[in-house]
């Protein structure tokens, strides 16, 4: 059970003035890094996520190669200065788990069988975090994979639904996450409504859970449109330049 003692909802609004189903402002920039094969900067409120993709490239160490498909590696990393209290650099148990579920969230859309024996490496850096960082990371990574030209069936979009002050809401910020009742990060392929990541902690009734899925689905559709628009924006610009790099 989470901490109690902060009034998270006042006069039907959240502390930052948002409505229950309102997302924080999102900003997406495609191809922001020169050296990476694909990249994306994704902002969601105070979250700042930067994703870089390399590959398909040779898989090291070789014994981890898969003769049938590419192997997707995903590394979620929080910058030490990204949170109030400095985070010790390097992987911890939380980031290991987040990396695992985030990889699984993206894995189903990547056409890995085109590139046997290779690695597709996804590096997600959280430069600033304010709850919902794994979802921001997945949103960034999905766009960066597309930017890298990796064949994909679709984009993946991600958001957290949760319960704060007895209300079901979307996209909790840090105080809401710390003092709320429950948190449920979801990732989905919006076009087919296929859920590729689902986690939950805190306490939900079955009805809350179902409502959370409905809300998350709606938000993933919104995010999907923004991701798509950002990619189209960059690549239609390029086409206008006569296809030059």
């Amino acid at each position: 059970m989470k901490e109690e003692g902060i009034e998270l909802i006042k006069d039907g609004k959240r502390l930052d003035g948002r409505g229950f189903e309102e997302l924080r402002p999102i900003k997406i920039e495609v191809g922001v890094l020169k050296r990476a094969d694909g990249s994306c900067y994704f902002e969601m409120g105070n979250n700042k996520a930067l994703a870089a993709v390399y590959g398909p490239r040779e898989m090291h160490p070789r014994h981890l190669q898969d003769a049938k498909t590419a192997v997707v590696n995903y590394r979620y990393n929080m910058a030490p200065f990204s949170v109030d209290e400095r985070k010790r650099p390097g992987p911890d148990r939380r980031s290991v788990e987040i990396s695992k579920v985030s990889r699984a969230a993206l894995d189903p859309v990547i056409l890995k069988e085109y590139y046997p024996k290779t690695a597709i490496d996804v590096y997600v850096e959280l430069l600033q975090s304010d709850a919902g960082t794994r979802t921001a990371g997945i949103n960034a990574a999905s766009v960066a994979l597309a930017d890298a030209g990796i064949p994909m069936k679709d984009l993946v979009s991600s958001i957290a639904a949760g319960k704060i002050g007895g209300e079901m809401v979307l996209d909790m910020n840090a105080p809401e996450d710390n003092y709320g009742e429950a948190d449920m990060p979801v990732a989905m392929i919006a076009r087919t409504d296929t859920i590729t990541m689902l986690q939950m902690d805190g306490r939900f009734t079955k009805e809350d859970f179902k409502r959370g899925l409905v809300l998350a689905k709606k938000a993933c559709h919104e995010i999907y449109e923004l991701q798509r628009a950002a990619l189209l924006d960059k690549y239609s610009e390029r086409a206008g330049e006569g296809g030059e790099e």
Partner: protein
């Protein structure tokens, strides 16, 4: 592909069987393997439980030690959950630091216990800001024939329910000697193979499954943890059906093994 090559080869067989409504070990789709729970096997631990799900075997030990509370929760005890996938439990498990599978196992079990508020952490305070009980839940996988998480979660709650606080050993007086346990979270895992939902996957089924969902539910039917894994996505209606199954199964396990 794991080192357990036999399981990889067996995939197609499991898949075909499910198509004709059968499981490799003859169970119904919604049946658990035989569950056995033995507790207090480890006298050195404050609480312990050995849970077997068929051939899967997990030993959970609970140890308590006085320690310093976190600065943002000076009057609360601490829970720490750790899981070790011991090499003797599977040719796929190796020695060395915890990998993502053991970290995930520990964190899912931890989340179920934490989310439900199972342990009244304020009752674990010895001296505010100075000294609280640290509760270590250590999950030791002994034999992996699939679905370690349900076995581990059941072992954890049984071990906690019967754990003794070692007041005397640390010269602490005036406190209760059992943990204040307020709920009984039970983890139930289902997998999807073809279009079928199977409860309590054995290793062959876990390998053949396209997706897996673990749902931890409490005595009042609320949820305190969910984790999806596996290589394919799930639809919303599949997930809600799975959650219903998991809550019902959790009730059966609770009344039989946590009564």
């Amino acid at each position: 592909m794991g080192l357990d090559i036999v399981e990889d080869i067996r995939k197609d067989y499991v898949y075909d069987l499910v198509g004709s409504g059968k499981r490799i070990d003859g169970r119904g789709f919604l049946d658990y393997r035989e569950i056995s729970v033995e507790r207090d096997l480890i006298s050195k631990a404050e609480g312990s439980a050995l849970v077997k799900l068929g051939d899967t075997s997990v030993l959970v030990g609970v140890k308590l030690e006085p320690g310093t509370p976190f600065s943002d929760a000076p009057n609360k005890g601490i829970i720490m959950t750790n899981a070790e996938l011991r090499p003797g439990a599977s040719p796929d498990f190796e020695t060395g630091p915890p990998n993502e599978n053991s970290v995930e196992l520990a964190r899912v079990v931890d989340r179920g216990i934490r989310g439900s508020g199972t342990i009244d952490l304020e009752k674990l305070c010895i001296e505010e800001g100075e000294k609280v009980w640290m509760t270590f839940i250590d999950i030791h996988a002994l034999d992996n024939d699939g679905n370690l998480v349900d076995a581990a979660a059941l072992g954890a709650i049984v071990a906690l329910l019967h754990a003794r606080i070692p007041n005397e050993h640390y010269g602490i007086t005036g406190a209760d000697d059992t943990l204040a346990i307020r709920d009984t979270p039970v983890a139930v895992t289902v997998v999807k193979i073809r279009d079928a939902i199977l409860v309590d996957p054995n290793l062959s089924e876990e390998t053949a499954a396209t997706s897996k969902l673990t749902v931890i539910s409490n005595a009042d039917g609320t949820l305190s943890g969910v984790q999806k894994s596996g290589r394919e996505g799930l639809k919303e209606d599949e997930i809600t059906e799975m959650v219903d199954i998991c809550i019902e199964k959790a009730g059966e396990i609770r009344s039989k093994h946590l009564g």
